[in-house]
C-alpha cells in the first residue's frame, strides 16, 4: 500500500467514525423530535412555526452532543482519573480532600441554574412575607442560600471521597440521608420543602458530573481492594442528597 492509499484509507476511517458518532447522537435526540412532532401534528393539530429554525436548531443539538461525548473521553475523563490517581499516589489525604471540596464548592457557587432558582425563591419568599421586604433582604437571602448549597455540595464530595477510601457501603448514606429528608419534610416549613428538592437537582452541572464520576471511579480504581463499579460511583448521589438536608435545616433556622 502506498502513502496516498494509506492516507485515503485513514481519511475514510475518520469520516466513517464521525458519521457513526453523528448517527449515535441523532438516535439520542430522535425521541424528543418524535414527541414534539406527534403532539404538534396529531394532538394540538398546529403547523410547526419556523420550520427552518427548528431544523437548524436540531442540527446544532446533534453536532453538539457528538462533540461533547467525543470530548468526554478525550478530555474530562482522563483529567479526573489522572488527578485521582496522582493524588492517591502522592499519599496526601489533605490535598485530596481540599481538591474534592473545591470541586464541589467552586463549581456550584457560580452555577447559573442555581442562581436563577435561588433568585426566584427569594422573590417568592419576600412576597409571602417569610423574609423582610426590600431588595437588600432578598439579596441576603439569595446569597445565603447559594452559600449553603455550595457548602453542602463541597461537603458531600468530601464525604463521598472518604467513603470510597474507607469502603463504607453507599446504601447506609442513601438510606440514612433520604430517611432524614423524609423526616424533615414533616417538620420543615412547607415553603422550603419543594425548593429544597429542586435545589438538590440543579447543583451539579453537565461539566462537573463527568469530572466527579471520573474522580470517583479513578479513586476506587487506584486503591487496592476497591471495586470501581461498587465503590467508584455514588459521589453524585450524595451531592444531590446532602444539599436537600442543608437547605431544609437552613429554612428551619431562618423562618
Amino acid at each position: 500500500m502506498n502513502a496516498i492509499q494509506r492516507g485515503y484509507s485513514t481519511g475514510r476511517k475518520m469520516l466513517l467514525n464521525i458519521l457513526r458518532r453523528l448517527k449515535a447522537s441523532f438516535m439520542d435526540l430522535l425521541p424528543i423530535i418524535l414527541v414534539v412532532a406527534f403532539f404538534q401534528a396529531v394532538v394540538l393539530r398546529q403547523p410547526l412555526p419556523q420550520v427552518g429554525e427548528v431544523i437548524f436548531g436540531a442540527f446544532l443539538v446533534v453536532v453538539g452532543l457528538m462533540l461533547f461525548v467525543q470530548g468526554l473521553e478525550m478530555g474530562l475523563f482522563p483529567i479526573g482519573e489522572n488527578l485521582a490517581s496522582a493524588l492517591t499516589h502522592k499519599g496526601s489525604l489533605f490535598w485530596l480532600l481540599v481538591f474534592s471540596f473545591f470541586l464541589g464548592f467552586a463549581t456550584t457557587v457560580a452555577e447559573p441554574a442555581l442562581i436563577a432558582v435561588v433568585d426566584e425563591a427569594a422573590r417568592v419568599a419576600s412576597n409571602e412575607g417569610l423574609i423582610a421586604e426590600g431588595e437588600k433582604a432578598q439579596r441576603n437571602y439569595a446569597i445565603g442560600m447559594r452559600m449553603v448549597v455550595a457548602l453542602a455540595v463541597g461537603a458531600s464530595i468530601v464525604l463521598g471521597v472518604i467513603r470510597i477510601l474507607k469502603g463504607w457501603p453507599i446504601y447506609w448514606f442513601i438510606m440514612g440521608g433520604y430517611g432524614t429528608v423524609a423526616l424533615f419534610s414533616f417538620f420543615a416549613p412547607r415553603e422550603i420543602i419543594g425548593l429544597a428538592y429542586d435545589l438538590g437537582g440543579v447543583t451539579t452541572s453537565t461539566i462537573t458530573i463527568p469530572l466527579v464520576t471520573a474522580l470517583g471511579v479513578g479513586l476506587a480504581g487506584s486503591i487496592k481492594g476497591r471495586n470501581p463499579l461498587k465503590e467508584g460511583f455514588g459521589l453524585i448521589a450524595l451531592a444531590s442528597l446532602v444539599p436537600i438536608v442543608f437547605v431544609m435545616i437552613y429554612g428551619m433556622i431562618l423562618f
Binding site: D28, P31, L34, V35, V36, F38, V43, L44, V54, F56, G57, A58, F59, V61, G64, L65, L67, F68, V69, Q70, G71, L72, M74, G75, L76, P78, I79, L83, S92, W95, L103, A106, T107, P169, M175, Y178, G179, V181, A182, S185, I193, G194, L195, D198, G201, V202, T204, S205, I207, I209, T213, A214, V217, N227, L229, K230, F233, I236, A237, L241
Partner: protein
Amino acid sequence: MNGMLSIVLSTLLDIVPILVLVLFFQFVVLRKPIPQARRVFLGSVYVLLGLALFLVGLEKALFPLGRMMASQLSEAEFLGVADLSEAQWHDYYWVYIFAAAIGYATTIAEPSLIAVGIKAEAVSGGSLKNKELRVFVAFGVAIALVVGVFRIITGTYLEYYMLGSYLLAFALTLYSSKDLVALAGDSGGVTTSTVTVPIVTALGLGLTSSIPGRDAALDGFGLLALADPLPMTAVLLYGLYRKWITRTAKTPSQ
C-alpha cells in the same frame, strides 16, 4: 443572537472554576505536567464547544415548542371543558401522556446521563450496557413525571409521594445486589439536568397557573422531586434484569 452569546458565555463561565482548580492542583500541588496534554486540551475544547452548540440548538429548536405545548395542553379549550374547575383529573389525559413521553425523551438525550452510562459500561466490563441503563432511567423519569403531574392536578401533598417512592427504592435496595446501589443513586441524581429541567419546569408552571386553587410557590416546585427515587428504583430493577439475562444465558435451553 444575544441569547446565543449569553449561552456560550455562561458555558465558558461554568468551566472557569474547574479550569483554575485543575491547573492549580496539576502545577502547584502535584507539580507534574498533564499526560497527553494536547489531546486532553482538545477534548476539553470539544466538551465546551459541544455543550454550547447543544444548548443553543435546544434554545432555538426545542425549548420554545416544548414550553408552548406544555401550556397549551392544560388550557380549558383544549381539554374541552367550559371552565377548568369542572375538569376532572382524568380529563388531563394528554398532559399525562405528554409528561411521560417528554420525560423519557429528554432523559435519553441528557448529556450527564450519557457520561455516567459510558463510565458504567466501561467499569462493569460490558456487563452493563450504556444504552439499556439509560432506557431504564428514562422510564423511571417518565413515571416520576406522570405521578408529579397527577399530584399537581389533584393538589395532594408531595410528602406522601416522596415517602412512598423512597420506601419503594429502599425495599429494592435491600432486596437487590448491593453492587449497583451507588450507580443507581448517581443515575437518580443526574436525571434532572440541562435538557429535562427547562421543559418540565414549564409544564409545572403551566399547570399551576391554569388550574384554579394552585399556588406556584407550593405546587410548582417539586415536580422533579420524584425524578430522583424512581429512576434509582429503575436502575436497581435493571440490575435484576441483567442478572436474570445472564442466568438464562448460562442455563442451556431445553
